[in-house]
């Protein structure tokens, strides 16, 4: 866990008081909506179709049980008893009243939670691997660096009014669970030949109307130089980034228009001037942050405790364990993913009761810690393997043990037209129908890893471009249609998917996905050739044929 210091707490409380005053002035007519809009957006408050929406940051996806209980409280007291976990390690509440928002913010502030960096043209919530600090083989805990960046960017005057929003993601594992290649700046921790920690720096990734996969501009930036290098990038962006056209304002467009070499050169020149200045991180500062991340006092435990051997006879338990339990860096422990994708449910939603129960389970089995991943699932990062059977029973009762992690029904979906004022089409009912179609676990595991991502419009909040199967809602003459892409992926081999053909109507989407999956099963050369690998080998043509031959 990370322990916030006095300064953080003072800052968060100041923000609550400030916002309370702003809301009061808005409700008394002293502030117009035009004046107020900027202020509410700086506090994570959007206006949606039915109500205000409130987005709260969960920096690098780490939550304490106390914090999760407080999120449950906000859901229950100020909202309709649930929240939506997003692809950027935030949680959204969909029904908050403006008049009550200051109280909700104040309740969250008591546990160190806030809504800074969740909206507006600034640097957004720095995201990371939800397995940070516990994944085997990790270079080091990427949250130390995420936290350094968070502190440095929060309310940084130069980065609070950027041409457009700006997103960082950091990973320290060979397998990228943080989707760093679709962020404005992606950082991959690794060590140089001297054994020093540093970063491969990637820039210009992003989805939305004009998607790009990030490219590497420097293969090693020493940890000491992280902030000065990042500042050099942001300065180049601030200087050249287009403020005249919202569609061209993201850094990915600048990188594309200047070209990666020219961009890298500009950054290098800027950096050479700044290098060694006050932004250089000395070991003392790094150690100071490192010391505030505390790890549990792990026990010495066997990998195969009796409890686990006994439970292995229960087919249901085994199915879940094989699907949702991952290796931990410490022997005898495991990382457990909690699927927020029950069959027929809206992806990423958790009720207040579930949140409270998860907090209790975290206290009992995971040293009071919970993680939030970009796939809209939660995780308990420090579970003793001997506790897995008991934990599974408890999760199953709560509807949180659907054994579909990374399978076809583990769908990422944005709120779409059911909630979002920018949407063209609905996302959630499409996801729900797909989870019903693929509810049979045997079939789902036969299919293997397959990520379906759904967005209700081109803003791509549901990451459709990088879904193995991507579904994008569009509108045609007032009807909901969906464009389908295949072959995208968001990991270390990130790629954008390719369109398979004309958009299909709402009622046909699930059939089309079934056709694509059937085609894959027929075309794959081995059972362990993943869907994306088959698409890579064969291209979209055979899938296109299969889908459109009968349509």
């Amino acid at each position: 866990m990370y322990a916030y210091d006095q300064l953080d707490r003072a800052l968060i409380n100041e923000r609550v008081d400030e916002f309370r005053d702003q809301v009061k002035r808005r409700l008394s007519g002293e502030l117009t909506e035009d004046e107020f809009k900027m202020l509410r957006l700086q506090n994570g408050v959007y206006l949606q179709l039915h109500a205000y929406m409130f987005r709260v940051a969960i920096p690098y996806g780490t939550l304490s049980s106390r914090q999760l209980r407080r999120l449950a409280h906000v859901a229950r007291r100020y909202d309709r008893g649930y929240g939506h976990f997003t692809t950027r390690q935030n949680i959204q509440f969909n029904w908050i009243k403006l008049a009550e928002l200051p109280d909700a913010l104040a309740d969250l502030a008591e546990v160190g939670i806030h809504a800074m960096q969740t909206s507006g043209n600034n640097t957004r919530n720095v995201t990371s691997d939800q397995w940070a600090g516990v994944a085997p083989g990790e270079v080091e805990d990427p949250r130390i660096w995420s936290e350094l960046l968070r502190q440095y960017t929060t309310l940084h005057p130069e980065f609070s009014f950027l041409p457009r929003k700006f997103k960082f993601a950091i990973t320290a594992s060979a397998h990228d669970r943080a989707a760093i290649k679709i962020h404005d700046i992606g950082l991959r921790l690794h060590k140089n030949a001297e054994g020093e920690t540093g970063f491969e720096v990637l820039v210009g990734g992003g989805l939305g109307r004009t998607p790009f996969i990030a490219k590497t501009i420097k293969s090693f930036v020493h940890g000491h130089d992280l902030l000065s290098y990042v500042e050099a990038i942001l300065r180049v962006y601030n200087q050249y980034g287009r403020r005249d056209n919202i569609y061209k304002a993201r850094m990915k467009i600048l990188v594309h228009e200047l070209g990666i070499e020219k961009f890298a050169q500009e950054v290098e020149e800027e950096w050479q001037q700044m290098r060694g200045n006050s932004l250089t991180l000395d070991d003392g500062i790094i150690e100071e942050i490192r010391s505030r991340f505390t790890y549990p006092a792990y026990e010495k435990l066997p990998h195969m405790p009796d409890e686990l051997k006994k439970a292995a006879h229960d087919a249901h338990f085994e199915r879940w364990r094989k699907n949702s339990v991952a290796l931990h860096k410490v022997q005898g422990y495991a990382i457990v993913t909690l699927s927020l994708k029950p069959v027929g449910g809206p992806p990423g939603d958790a009720t207040a009761d579930q949140m409270d129960a998860i907090a209790d389970l975290a206290d009992k089995y995971s040293f009071g810690e919970i993680r939030v991943g970009h796939e809209q699932n939660l995780a308990l990062p420090h579970v003793a393997r001997r506790d897995l059977p008991a934990l599974w029973k408890a999760l199953d009762k709560l509807g949180l043990a659907t054994p579909n992690v990374n399978l076809v029904s583990d769908i990422i979906a944005c709120p779409g037209l059911d909630y979002c004022s920018l949407a063209n089409a609905r996302s959630i009912p499409i996801a729900q129908e797909l989870t019903r179609r693929f509810a049979n676990h045997d079939i789902a595991s036969l299919i293997g890893r397959l990520h379906i991502n759904i967005s209700g419009c081109i803003n791509a909040c549901g990451h459709h471009h990088v879904g193995h199967i991507g579904i994008l809602g569009v509108e045609k003459n007032g009807e909901e249609f969906y464009q389908i892409t295949i072959g995208g992926r968001a990991d270390e081999n990130a790629e954008l998917g390719n369109l398979i053909g004309p958009a299909v109507p709402y009622a046909e989407v699930a059939d089309v996905v079934e056709d694509i999956v059937e085609a894959y099963l027929a075309l794959r050369v081995r059972p362990d050739e993943l869907f994306v690998e088959t698409v890579k080998r064969l291209g979209v043509e055979p899938f296109r044929e299969r889908v459109y031959a009968t349509r």
Partner: protein
């Protein structure tokens, strides 16, 4: 907010209403003929010409304290006289989400 310039350009293709979200809680509301707001679509003032639409919108936008983001939305008027939202988006705003909420109301 719709600027006066944009308002001039407004053309409607059929019967329409002005809708917005109530400022203090975000509730979906409709402008009534009495210059107030109502959460009930059947109480909305119906406009049938672009001129009427522009006038109703201008009046609605002027109530910056009461409502946020006023705009003109199409409606369908049934033979019975019942007013229905004119598209799926407005249907969802009026009727609510098309899915079961995680916690039943």
């Amino acid at each position: 907010m719709t600027s006066p310039l944009e308002q001039k350009k407004i053309r409607i293709a059929g019967p329409s209403v002005v809708t917005a979200n109530r400022t203090w809680d975000g509730l979906v509301i409709y402008r009534t003929a009495r210059g107030e707001w109502s959460a009930t679509l059947s109480e909305a003032a119906i406009v049938r010409t672009s001129e009427e639409a522009r006038a109703l919108l201008a009046e609605s936008v002027a109530d910056d304290l009461g409502a946020v983001g006023a705009y003109i939305a199409p409606v369908e008027i049934k033979e019975s006289g019942r007013i229905k939202p004119g598209n799926l988006r407005e249907h969802i705003r009026f009727r609510g989400v098309t899915i079961e909420l995680p916690v039943p109301a």
